[in-house]
Symmetry: C3
Subunit: 349 residues, 3 copies
Amino acid sequence: MSYTLAEIAARLGGRVSGDGQVRIRQISTLERAQADQISFLTNRKYAAQLATTKAGAVILAEADADATDLPRIISANPYALFARVSSLLNPLPAIQPGIHASAVISATASIDPSASVAAMAVVGEGAVIGAHTVIGEGCCIGDNVVIGNHVRLYPRVVIYHDCVVGDNLIAHSGVVIGADGFGIAMDEGRWIKIPQIGRVVIGNDVEIGANTTIDRGALDDTVIEDGVKLDNQIQIAHNVRIGAHTAIAGCVGIAGSTTIGKYCQIGGSAGILGHLQIADSVVIASFTLIAKSIREAGSYAAIYPFSKQEEWRKNAVHLRHLDEMAQRLKKMEQEISSLKQDTLKGNTA
Amino acid sequence: MSYTLAEIAARLGGRVSGDGQVRIRQISTLERAQADQISFLTNRKYAAQLATTKAGAVILAEADADATDLPRIISANPYALFARVSSLLNPLPAIQPGIHASAVISATASIDPSASVAAMAVVGEGAVIGAHTVIGEGCCIGDNVVIGNHVRLYPRVVIYHDCVVGDNLIAHSGVVIGADGFGIAMDEGRWIKIPQIGRVVIGNDVEIGANTTIDRGALDDTVIEDGVKLDNQIQIAHNVRIGAHTAIAGCVGIAGSTTIGKYCQIGGSAGILGHLQIADSVVIASFTLIAKSIREAGSYAAIYPFSKQEEWRKNAVHLRHLDEMAQRLKKMEQEISSLKQDTLKGNTA
Amino acid sequence: MSYTLAEIAARLGGRVSGDGQVRIRQISTLERAQADQISFLTNRKYAAQLATTKAGAVILAEADADATDLPRIISANPYALFARVSSLLNPLPAIQPGIHASAVISATASIDPSASVAAMAVVGEGAVIGAHTVIGEGCCIGDNVVIGNHVRLYPRVVIYHDCVVGDNLIAHSGVVIGADGFGIAMDEGRWIKIPQIGRVVIGNDVEIGANTTIDRGALDDTVIEDGVKLDNQIQIAHNVRIGAHTAIAGCVGIAGSTTIGKYCQIGGSAGILGHLQIADSVVIASFTLIAKSIREAGSYAAIYPFSKQEEWRKNAVHLRHLDEMAQRLKKMEQEISSLKQDTLKGNTA
């Protein structure tokens, strides 16, 4: 499969400069691209590589339009164009419709004939699987789960009973959707379990990374809105709602009943406590715990800066005495103020 | 399935006030409950919803007994009663005893006839599975594993060889019990593996959340005592012991050979270093690393408070200079003290 | 299976002192060892147990050679010797070559006759599985995956298409190798997916803990070099490279395109941001976020020290005012300096 540079721009947008007839088969980095490959400049720190790249063509921003003589596509959003070109050159393998002989499908499940159910998959009673959807090897789809069209579940995804998944979901291996939330009540020295009778409801165009877990609601549902992108090993507790087009990096934990707005971005290993409201367009730094609601868009952080172990040790010990330091500071300010008075008196006596 | 309010109180405790004949089919939040549903007030911040709820009845604390005219059950522990009522109204589906045709069961395994082994499950040599236990789809039960009665393993749980599990365990999908602990020794520039020959031993009434991992002991066992409740994506290293009725929120990591007391509560994404002792009834805040043993019950924390990115940046830079700040503070105190002497002398000269 | 102390030393090294004919069947802690077991002292805090242990023999460092009269092996590296003795006494179960009847193997896969493929495993088109390799229950091996010799995959490991794994890999249950990296580009209010067309390439002698995830590269490969040891629940993003013999504890997250040197050690729940370079022999403390490249070997940390909740609250509030404190400190220094001038003037006036 190959396209000329002119064909690529015609399909995906951007303005061609230089030879539009150069033929492109793959996409690669500036450093490694070959003559039949297209590369891209989206991060200025790689600009020097433009001079040495062997790429047959390059995708660039308008501001860099003249930074090379190579055949190029100039775009208002070169990173998005790079994504589109890569998708064009690397289509997903075609789906083989049908149900593998080893899969176990309940008699009452409804599976679209265009869908594919792989080896060792299990589909429960009353489950519905949409058109062109792929259920990977060893996936378990619980009773009465509803899965939309063009969904792709990689091997060993589990979806518990009654959950609902929209169109175009991509869920990677080890994802668990709809396990019980962590609901317990202390009663005379023992924890008793609170049944988790809500569901997980996932909108359209969501992607979920490997080994991420999304718990079902305690009473109402846990909701993942359209276009949400979740990286690996994220934990989303019961009754969380994640607003449309929010992107969350790996290892984040979100506690129960928190609502996150649309178009938020949450850095790796961050956390958000329960029962909070996070506004739209909030950006949270990696390793930051959000312990109060955020009402206003903007960037928030709480990262302890690292240093050499000895330095850290010398400095960190004072964190337990900050309040005392603050008191001493205050006292000194009063003493200095009083000394200034005395000195003034002394000098003018 | 439905119960009158009077029947519910008679079975589960609490004092009825108002019409005990109102018929209840489900439990819900104050905001969403309908006329055939019971709701509850356990968090004062929802008290205003009592005035507008459409619930047929409500569960309340003694202190709130007169806060509504709705039919109600008044309880000394309304949260626990809510849990019990929800369990009454939402029983688990009945177990279908028997072994699915696709499951692979070793000839020497012993499975109680009342147990259920689902599709694609594998049960190893010499394994024992108790009465009324459910082994979900695709679970792998290793050789010589012993599983008690009324256990429920959701799909794709793995239990490695020789581990022992008590009665009433609930383990959610993706749980791995008994993988090798992280035992390595450096020898002439290469890590060599230390065989992990201990087991995991789990008591009764434990729940383990999705994708949580509990490693087997290096020499002795890793032990989870009765009534422990573990949320999702927790990592418990080799030779840890967790005391009875301790509850641990999601994403916590506990390093090797640490012993945690009974009735502890550990917040999300917290961590505990290895070879430590944590007393009974210790509460650890989210995102807090415990780096020394805790000998005394109480609440402990180490959370860096978040702020707007610019403010954080301005403040955090000083963390690398706290010791210098402390030295300067000390020096100033000495100078002020000496200035006071001088001023005194000056003024009295 | 048993060995005399003299036989053990002859096979594995070290110098015997005392009765070399004592017969050893197992290894255990000083506290629990019996007369037919060997124990070891590698941590001085257990030295007192030498006096009371019932072990038949002990492994010790040269410096402790005379700390007991028990039969003993004295070694320059007693911890490594302990590991070797334990491996000698606890060999892995022998492999049963062959393919389980329930496994689903593509016609074009190539599986060495000495390999073992367990129940419910799936092996894709063109996959190659080496000699003496074990593919555990329910593993999914994608199309064109190449797996070396003497590899051991525990149940339910997933390896996505085209990934390459060297000899002697041990991967525990729930590991996912080669899922898509988190590559998205914002385009007119929607995230679009960047195809992840790189692979994961893993060297020889690597171990990977339960539920750890290693994402495939976006364009180039993600690389794990020889001898790397990864604990449980680690997340390794696309295009990361981990240098040989680096060891990483549980729950660590490493963001995209970061390169980590050889012989590094990374503590539990630490994190490393993307596009960074970490030198060889860097040691990173638990719970530490590395936000800049590290060019120099050494130990680095950023741990907020925990304290009782009330103390923490009192102290932590000042973290949001550190810059103001620093300004006040500076101002006071100037005032004191000016007071000293004034007092000097006053006193000498």
